[in-house]
Amino acid sequence: MGSKVNRSFYGYIFVAPFFIGFAVFGLMPILYTLYLSFMKWDGFSDPVYVGLANYSRLLHDSFFYQTIGNTLIIWILSNVPQLILSVLLALVLNERFIRGKHFFRAVYFFPHIITPVTLGVIFSLMFDWQTGTINKLLMSLGIIHDPVNWFNSPWWSRIIASGVICWQYFGFNMIVFIAGLQGIPREVYEAAEVDGASKKQTALHITLPLLRPVFLFVFITSVIGGLQLFDAPLMLGDGPGNSSRTMVMYLYETAFKNFDYSYGAAVAYGIFFVVMFFTAITAKASKLKD
């Protein structure tokens, strides 16, 4: 009957807004950015075709390589402690005897829903060397005598940026790990108990291997998200010698502060390439273990 054709027509109608929206607000900007990356354009005069000039400039741009390095350093410094902490907390909170589970989960998750920009400003105020709470606290405890100028040190700048990210995400990943733990059937643990496995053996040889898909999910999302760090690090500043400037901060500064839109477009594609490269490595590494 005709109604069948009619219904599949509605199927197209219902999914169409996504594709139209994506074409206009997602795909066209991406293609336009690609076009601009082959141009010379300052936003005022007409764009001029320059071929691969922006990309060859990018390949020799030591500032860009530095931001890749900074982003990777901040990514490692924030994600390694963050993953350890979130797995540990998930294992502890999954124990039956712990009370106040919901309270702890809620408190750990809370930093995650605060606007990243606000977190960045809070930390930059807390670590301000003249008025910040951290210096005042360390001085009253007698740990230091003179205030430390945190943001004048390349490594402290990176560590503070990583600390904010770690602090913001561990609660979220902990929730994901707890959800994964609760997906493991109780019989598996009962069988382990019957076989006389200790708590540590159960955790290492049963729980963690069964959590592998969850680890993969957390890892890939943290690679994609972690390499695009922007909001909170921007509030903490570039650091001395640009030591805490991330890739996306460089994109933002190039395009929207120096108005070099065409070179910014090449930087955007450079970042895309770097993110894809590390995502592929992560996906491959996790498959190799099979």
């Binding site: 219904r7 599949s8 509605y10 199927g11 197209y12 219902f14 999914v15 807004p17 996504f18 594709f19 929206g21 994506f22 066209m28 900007p29 991406i30 336009y32 950015t33 690609l34 502890v92 124990e95 005897f97 919901h102 702890f104 809620a106 750990y108 809370f110 930093p111 829903i113 605060i114 606007t115 990243p116 606000t118 960045g120 400003v121 809070i122 105020l125 008025t131 709470t133 005042k136 001085m139 609660g171 929730i175 707890i178 959800a179 994964g180 999910f217 994609i224 390499l227 695009q228 922007f230 909001d231 921007l234 996306v248 994109l251 839109y261 910014g264 955007a268 594609y269 970042i271 993110v275």
Partner: protein, 273 residues
């Protein structure tokens, strides 16, 4: 005995981590109630009485409640658009058969892999040529395409919208749109709420896009205003702290009522992802 000791250590660990999560916010609220001279001089642990003075100086320079209202307007509108179109497409993928359906769905999932900032310069230029700069359209309209939302809503429609109810709607002479709006949407409301929370938080925190597309201070959103506090109040730390309190406390109140729902939503979304 050893058991009690282990448990004690575990609780200490949990409490120590909880303290690290809350102390920055405590310190921020306390500091906002003190005069600049005290903030610079000593460690502040108990509330002072300068909050209103700090607030008055903040309000003289930054129209922070205007920013708050703007953010509410943008976030609520985007969330409604986001949830409605995600549910529509998720339902379309779940209950209708059409050619290339699976390819199209894979395409939707594939768009999730694209880093958000890749097209930002082209987006800015496109909005410029559509005369949409300095308006809310660039912040609201892109909510139509939310791939993650479609994924979540398809799962939800698969598991909780019975096909029989759609058939009975057709028997009663409803059109396909009416069936979706009057029968399917109400059934999907728990899923809509979960997606709505994600969409709301994401939009509320949006920073880069409003910063580049809005020029007018009266149109600006709260996160961009918070970001500019530092340059506007170079040495007036009291006013900066008050600004942050205004940005954080409403979220704290919202979260204390909704925490269970939000956390369950995150867990459900993660398991499905």
């Amino acid at each position: 005995m050893a058991k009690i000791l282990t448990r004690g250590i575990l609780y200490l660990f949990l409490i120590a981590v909880a303290a690290t999560c809350l102390l920055p916010f405590y310190s921020m609220i306390i500091t906002s109630t003190h005069a600049n001279s005290d903030i610079a001089r000593r460690l502040l642990l108990i509330p002072g009485d300068q909050f209103l003075d700090n607030y008055a100086r903040l309000k003289d320079t930054v129209n922070i409640w205007r920013g708050f209202g703007n953010t509410v307007l943008i976030t609520v509108t985007s969330t409604i658009i986001n949830v409605y179109f995600a549910a529509l497409a998720g339902y379309g993928f779940s209950k209708y058969n059409f050619k290339y359906k699976n390819v199209l769905f894979l395409f939707v999932l594939g768009t999730m892999m694209i880093p958000g900032q890749l097209g930002i310069i082209g987006f800015f230029k496109l909005m410029d040529s559509l005369n949409m700069l300095n308006t809310y359209w660039p912040l609201i309209l892109p909510s139509i395409h939310n791939a993650f939302g479609i994924f979540l809503m398809r799962q939800f429609a698969d598991s909780s919208v019975p096909t029989e109810i759609i058939e009975s709607g057709r028997m009663d002479g409803y059109g396909e749109w009416q069936i979706f709006n009057r029968i399917v949407l109400p059934i999907m409301s728990p899923g809509l709420a979960t997606l709505g929370i994600f969409a709301f938080i994401g939009k509320w925190n949006d920073f880069l896009t409003p910063m580049i597309v809005l020029f007018d201070n009266n149109l600006q959103t709260l996160p961009v205003m918070i970001a500019s506090l530092k340059s506007q109040f170079t040495s007036d730390f009291g006013a900066q702290y008050v600004g942050i309190v205004i940005a954080v406390v409403p979220i704290l109140v919202f979260f204390s009522f909704m925490s269970k729902r939000i956390i369950d939503g995150v867990a459900a979304g993660a398991v499905k992802g």
